[in-house]
Symmetry: C2
Subunit: 330 residues, 2 copies
């Protein structure tokens, strides 16, 4: 069996959970395995869990190590593609650790590392909402706002693997404080965390009764589901808040449209999945069209991601497959 047609491992290494699966030659996923990750795990412990997770996926799929062709891993933060390691991992002790080398000697196959949002965007490009397009921007609003770029049909990394950091685009000089230390980043005005921050303040002021009854005034409890329920319960201030965040998101999307003129923007992640489209995705889309240059804005499609939690795994697996194909084009 030529190597590109072998099963490959797709892996989503997240800050709170890891997800591994085997992508078969027809791109079906088998042997899905989920494990918890914790911020106090050291590099050795994380690697041990990665290996165990892949072993379990293989066992569940009735495969041996020698049956797989390669491993693709979506990782948090920027990846040093040359050296095969993570550059910065605020919530994970892998910064600078030789992850690729370690896993390659463990499994005896090539390992491809990629930023998780890039991998997810690539997954949506290959198999999901952006299938068939060549110029794709993926935006994933969650705790932060991650972005990935597919340009001319290829994942775009820029000079040092950092391209796609859409969340830290400043759209509102002097605006809200962002986790990165700047003021007015898209992330500070449109991420889930920014919504939680403002919802907690509303609850504290007694202006969001549903939020307050669900989560009190504790920001850490204000998950997407709480916001969703508050909207369903008719918390007017929360509805206004969410629509305002979507309008900001649309301004960020418009900026990306003006700079890159993509064919399609795919929106994914927890907020997009949890919030009613007419209060969030549709508001963001309308705002994008209103703020982008008309020639480009009206031609750019906007779609919700379709692969959910599998996007990163599928994208990482396909990147592993691409690597094999590039090495052995026969």
């Amino acid at each position: 069996m030529p190597k590109p047609d072998k099963p490959v491992v797709g892996f989503d290494l997240g800050g709170t959970k890891m997800l591994s699966a085997i992508a078969m030659p027809d791109n079906s996923l088998v042997g899905r395995t989920k494990k918890r990750t914790a911020s106090d795990h050291d590099a050795e412990e994380i690697v041990k869990r990665i290996c165990k997770s892949i072993d379990k996926s293989l066992a569940d799929a009735n495969l041996k190590k020698t049956d797989i062709g390669a491993i693709g891993i979506g990782c948090p933060g920027p990846v040093d593609l040359e050296k095969g390691r993570l550059q910065q991992t605020p919530n994970m002790a892998l910064g600078g650790f030789p992850l690729r080398k370690t896993l390659e000697s463990e499994f005896g196959v090539p390992v491809v590392l990629e930023n998780d949002v890039n991998a997810g965007t690539y997954g949506e490009f290959c198999f999901g909402a952006a299938k068939g397009f060549r110029h794709v921007v993926g935006i994933f609003p969650g705790t932060g706002i991650g972005g990935g770029l597919v340009l001319n049909g290829q994942l775009y990394h820029g000079a040092h693997g950092g391209a796609g950091e859409i969340g830290h685009m400043i759209i509102n000089v002097g605006g809200a404080l962002c986790g990165c230390g700047q003021y007015g980043c898209l992330e500070a005005h449109a991420s889930r965390l920014s919504l939680s921050r403002d919802a907690a303040a509303l609850a504290f002021r007694g202006q969001a009764p549903s939020v307050e009854s669900q989560a009190g005034t504790d920001l850490a409890q204000m998950r997407s589901k709480v916001l969703r329920e508050a909207i369903d319960d008719g918390d007017k201030a929360v509805i206004t808040l969410v629509r305002r965040a979507a309008e900001f998101l649309g301004i960020g999307m418009a900026n990306v449209v003006n700079i890159l003129n993509p064919e399609i923007i795919v929106l994914g992640g927890g907020l997009v999945e949890a919030l009613p489209a007419d209060c969030y995705l549709k508001v963001a889309e309308r705002s994008m069209r209103q703020h982008a240059m008309p020639l480009m804005g009206k031609r750019t499609k906007v779609a919700a991601a379709t692969l959910g939690d599998d996007a990163v795994v599928l994208g990482a697996a396909q990147l592993a497959r691409d690597y094999l194909k590039a090495k052995d084009p026969s």
Copy 2:
């Protein structure tokens, strides 16, 4: 002589002037010809002037029409690359006119159209400040703020030829009114026109004596040279104004760095040439590094364009040469 080695015509079709020249196989420019363009010229008149200008360049270079291999033209506004015509030309009656077809039948050689800022960026990439880099952003603050992208060593157009519209990135929600109708665009805070607008107000209030003595309160007279002289004369409010615009420019640059992670940003155009670097370019560079994500911001080079008025001509000529090479790779 194989076609790619023939001399090619490079052409810069601007709103107030056109510039043509012959790029010899060693990329030296000969037969430089300049002609005025006026906003009341109709398409026929403009085409007549383009042809006359190229004819004069050929005559000055002792060449015949049959000696050249192709023509490259940098045009204002977005270009419909497929149909070979300009899409929108607020200051030129060529929108929708079949410019490529017309010139191809006039000169009997392939004609390549390109947006002028893209052509200028490509010129700086091939021959100027960004020579040797693969990921380049060109930013040209003038009446507006144009941008061009070279990604993976190739001019990037996006889906419909509109990529690179950096000037209409919204960096300041609810900020100054832009010519495009939006509020808070980079262009509305950092272009020459935005500086002229604010300098006129300063002059009117008696806060910019040098500006007032040079240009009164007439915005139309506030060219880059007036601003330069006011800085030299020590108009404090003008210095503050220019530095503030440069800081905004740096925020726009930081956004582009976060999204594209380029190796180098080339800044060109009238303002960059006219204003003292420590009041403008250096301020913009510092602001970029301050507002971009550290990993990318500190590694991105910033340089002034080196080709001046020749950038568009040289870039357009090289695009014409690239076209011939792609058609006949021998």
